[in-house]
């Protein structure tokens, strides 16, 4: 299949391209940008007039819920959601049921996702067996099975001896650790930021110090062990400062923020909106501003969707009992664009954070449109508004704090390996 994408505006952060250029695809690869190669005859032409062409989005954190939680979501529904959101590569955390701590499970997941022929799935293996924080998982075996890194999902390792050993062992083989920084004792039973809103609503709070304390421990051990660390979903101003300093000191560290936290604060909980029950909790305006500033100055490397589909029933409960999470794959692009518009960033700067930057964190070749690279790309209308509502979402999880909001940024086509895997219905 040879495809010619014409008249579109090409954004490729990796190659610093921000120009009106055509794209030529053959045999699943990008064969040329700008001018057709000699003798190129397309069997399919996509007219991208007024549209933006960019590398397929890369998401550092998307839960697919398989194996184990099929009533919340299924691989097929979530991978369809991914490509409908322009996401062509995603990393999934290991907190499935059973936990991704067995090479066989990882192989099965890789195999089943590959069969779908939609987005590429890069599993993060469990760092410790059963995520219990006690015994290390078989990292080399899991790596061989397809894990691109190791994570504890939302579970903390309380035993610092184990954390130290885990970092040492991972560092031995150059594996990246994906850690969520939250001190579990301070955060115990907490459901919202420990501040004014939690006080008013009578919700158990999670203090900002819970993130700072966990980060201090992780950073200090990372300094000793030289482990490569990625901090998942930073939430506080203090956390941003700590990462900034750690980077200045030369630590091998990266981090991301969820798109939710770029736009929402504790006040969005309003009258106990269970869709705002997220992990980490939504924090203050000051924290939100600091997270945005952190993205601007490069302290925060990437924006993730933190896609966590939850079934409706699980949200129909009092705030604290409502299950944590929100759907996000189809909102990553529009929420990033919204942020970019608000911060007066150009598309090249914004798209870097959801293409090239997360691909670098994962150490995968993706998020770029260089000649001879895989033709994974997304074509979208940056100015078309759509309303977030259950009917508009492919994901089986329909819950999001953004329900009812009109967002700009509509994906028209998504290509994976040069195949059109999503096309906006007419």
């Amino acid at each position: 299949m040879k495809i010619h994408i014409k008249n579109g505006h090409l954004i490729d952060p990796k190659n610093n391209i921000n120009d009106k250029l055509d794209v030529f695809i053959a045999a699943g690869k990008i064969v040329a940008i700008g001018k057709a190669p000699d003798g190129f005859v397309a069997n399919h032409t996509i007219d991208a007039t007024h549209l933006t062409i960019c590398p397929g989005l890369v998401d550092l954190s998307a839960r697919l819920r398989e194996p184990g939680d099929e009533y919340k979501a299924r691989l097929l529904s979530e991978l369809q959601a991914a490509v409908a959101g322009g996401v062509t590569s995603l990393a999934c955390p290991p907190d499935t049921d059973p936990v991704l701590d067995e090479p066989g499970l990882v192989e099965m997941l890789k195999h089943r996702t590959k069969q779908q022929g939609l987005a590429h799935v890069y599993p993060l293996g469990a760092l410790t067996r059963q995520l219990e924080g006690k015994a290390l998982s078989e990292m080399n075996e899991l790596h061989a099975a397809g894990c691109v890194g190791f994570s504890q999902a939302n579970v903390a390792i309380t035993d610092t001896q184990v954390l130290w050993r885990a970092m040492e062992y991972a560092a031995t083989f150059g594996f990246t650790l994906y850690l969520h920084a939250e001190e579990p004792f301070l955060a115990a039973n907490g459901v919202a930021h420990d501040g004014e809103v939690a006080t008013r609503l009578g919700l158990k709070g999670i203090p900002s110090a819970a993130e700072a304390l966990a980060l201090a421990t992780i950073l200090r051990i990372a300094q000793e062990t030289k482990a490569k660390i990625h901090i998942s979903r930073l939430s506080t101003a203090e956390g941003v400062d700590m990462i900034r300093k750690a980077k200045q000191q030369g630590l091998n560290i990266s981090c991301d923020v969820s798109a939710n936290h770029l736009h929402l604060t504790e006040h969005d909980i309003a009258y106990f909106d269970a869709n705002c029950h997220l992990k980490p909790p939504l924090r203050t305006q000051r924290d939100k501003d600091a997270l945005r500033a952190g993205l601007m100055d490069g302290t925060i490397d990437s924006i993730c969707s933190d896609h966590t589909p939850v079934d409706d029933d699980a949200k129909q409960a009092p705030f604290a009992e409502a299950e944590v999470g929100a759907t996000g794959l189809e909102l990553l692009l529009p929420l990033t664009l919204k942020w970019a518009v608000e911060e007066k960033l150009n598309l090249l700067q914004a798209m870097r954070l959801i293409t090239q930057a997360p691909a670098n964190v994962l150490g995968i070749v993706a998020g770029e449109l260089s000649p001879n690279s895989d033709a994974d790309l997304c074509i979208f209308d940056a100015n078309e508004y759509w309303k977030v509502c259950p009917q508009a979402l492919k994901s089986q999880g329909k819950n999001t704090p953004f329900t009812g909001l009109e967002l700009a940024g509509k994906v028209k086509y998504t290509l994976v390996h040069g195949q059109i895997v999503y096309q906006q219905p007419h």
């Binding site: 420990d194 501040g195 004014e196 939690a198 006080t199 008013r200 609503l201 009578g202 919700l203 158990k204 709070g205 203090p207 309003a270 009258y271 106990f272 269970a274 029933d313 129909q316 409960a317 009092p318 705030f319 604290a320 009992e321």
Partner: protein
């Protein structure tokens, strides 16, 4: 965002929390309650305002006093009352809150009085029920207990009518207290100029001062010259552990004794939402003393709950006065 407690005309639709209610509504409830106080003193303690209506007490958390006073209040309004202790029935069989509610709606309940251990439970139910059904929050987690807050200001108004001239202290476990939050919102809305909270730091929520209170950690400073002392209950499980070392130490530092009460104004009144822990947060001589208005609080609680239910069911205050109904 719409205020979930008010209808499009600004009338009370549900009573979920004091916060968010205008002074107008609070006064409407207090004034209506005033007219109900007399009902209990009649030989026939009933008015027909809720005749033919079914009030459903839905208690997901145990309670004796609150449930009983709601029951009495509904019965004095001539409603049919069902009381369900859900904590001991369906919930233990795995039924969700909203399933339970849907079943009762199918049985044509007109009003739900809800108590639940989780903050926000009453809001969840209010959002779920059809428009003609009213929800009264009888306590949700640490969030709100609006009828308690209302009966407390009603009691204060009885003894100290000049609310705009009062200094009030709330003593004890504010962190876990829905009563304290409701009292604070009611008092600030009604224009009480100085509200103090007195507690160790472990029993105060973060940024409590943003609720409009002055924070004290010392009883002697905090009680000085106050007109009203509102004591809070200390739950057994919090008496020793990481919150407090022991109930004995708590009583010594924050328990209300005659000696400490002397620091308040000589005519200060003492309140407690019950149930009391004598010898933990309050000394028996104070609880039973002449400054105590703890039992009148219970009596007024019935009038307040009658007023709330009458206003909700009646739609507006003109049809919910007992005089009008009796005529």
């Amino acid at each position: 965002m719409n205020n979930p407690q008010l209808d499009a005309d600004g009338n009370l639709k549900h009573l979920l929390s004091i916060e968010g209610l205008p002074k107008r509504i609070l006064n409407q409830i207090l004034d209506t309650a005033e007219s109900f106080v007399g009902v209990a003193e009649r030989e026939v303690k009933k008015v027909p305002l809720l005749r033919g209506k079914t009030v459903c007490n839905l208690f997901f958390e145990n309670s004796t006093r609150t449930r009983t006073t709601f029951e009495i209040a509904a019965k004095r309004l001539s409603a049919d009352v069902i009381s369900l202790n859900v904590s001991t029935s369906s919930q233990s069989k795995g039924e969700t809150i909203l399933d339970t509610v849907d079943n009762l709606i199918a049985m044509h309940a007109d009003m739900f009085v809800v108590r639940h251990g989780q903050s926000g439970a009453a809001h969840l139910i209010a959002k779920h029920v059809p428009a003609h059904i009213h929800v009264v929050n009888a306590g949700d987690g640490r969030h709100s207990h609006p009828t308690q807050g209302l009966l407390d200001v009603f009691t204060i108004r009885k003894y100290k009518p000049e609310l705009h001239n009062l200094r009030i202290a709330i003593v004890g476990d504010v962190l876990h207290s829905r009563v304290a939050r409701s009292e604070i919102h009611a008092l600030t809305t009604l224009g009480v100029p100085e509200i103090r909270v007195i507690a160790p730091k472990t029993l105060l929520p973060t940024q409590v001062e943003k609720l409009g209170v002055h924070v004290f950690h010392d009883m002697e400073q905090g009680l000085k010259d106050v007109d009203v002392v509102m004591m809070l209950r200390l739950q057994n499980e919090r008496m020793s552990g990481a919150m407090l070392p022991s109930s004995q130490e708590y009583f010594k530092t924050y328990g209300l004794t005659q000696d400490k009460l002397k620091l308040a104004k000589p005519d200060a009144i003492v309140m407690h939402p019950g149930p009391m822990n004598r010898g933990v947060e309050i000394d028996s001589t104070v609880a039973d003393g002449k400054q105590s208005v703890i039992l009148p609080q219970v009596t007024y609680g019935i009038a307040i709950r009658m007023a709330v239910m009458a206003i909700l069911a009646g739609g507006n205050s003109s049809t919910s006065s007992p005089a009008g109904a009796a005529a």
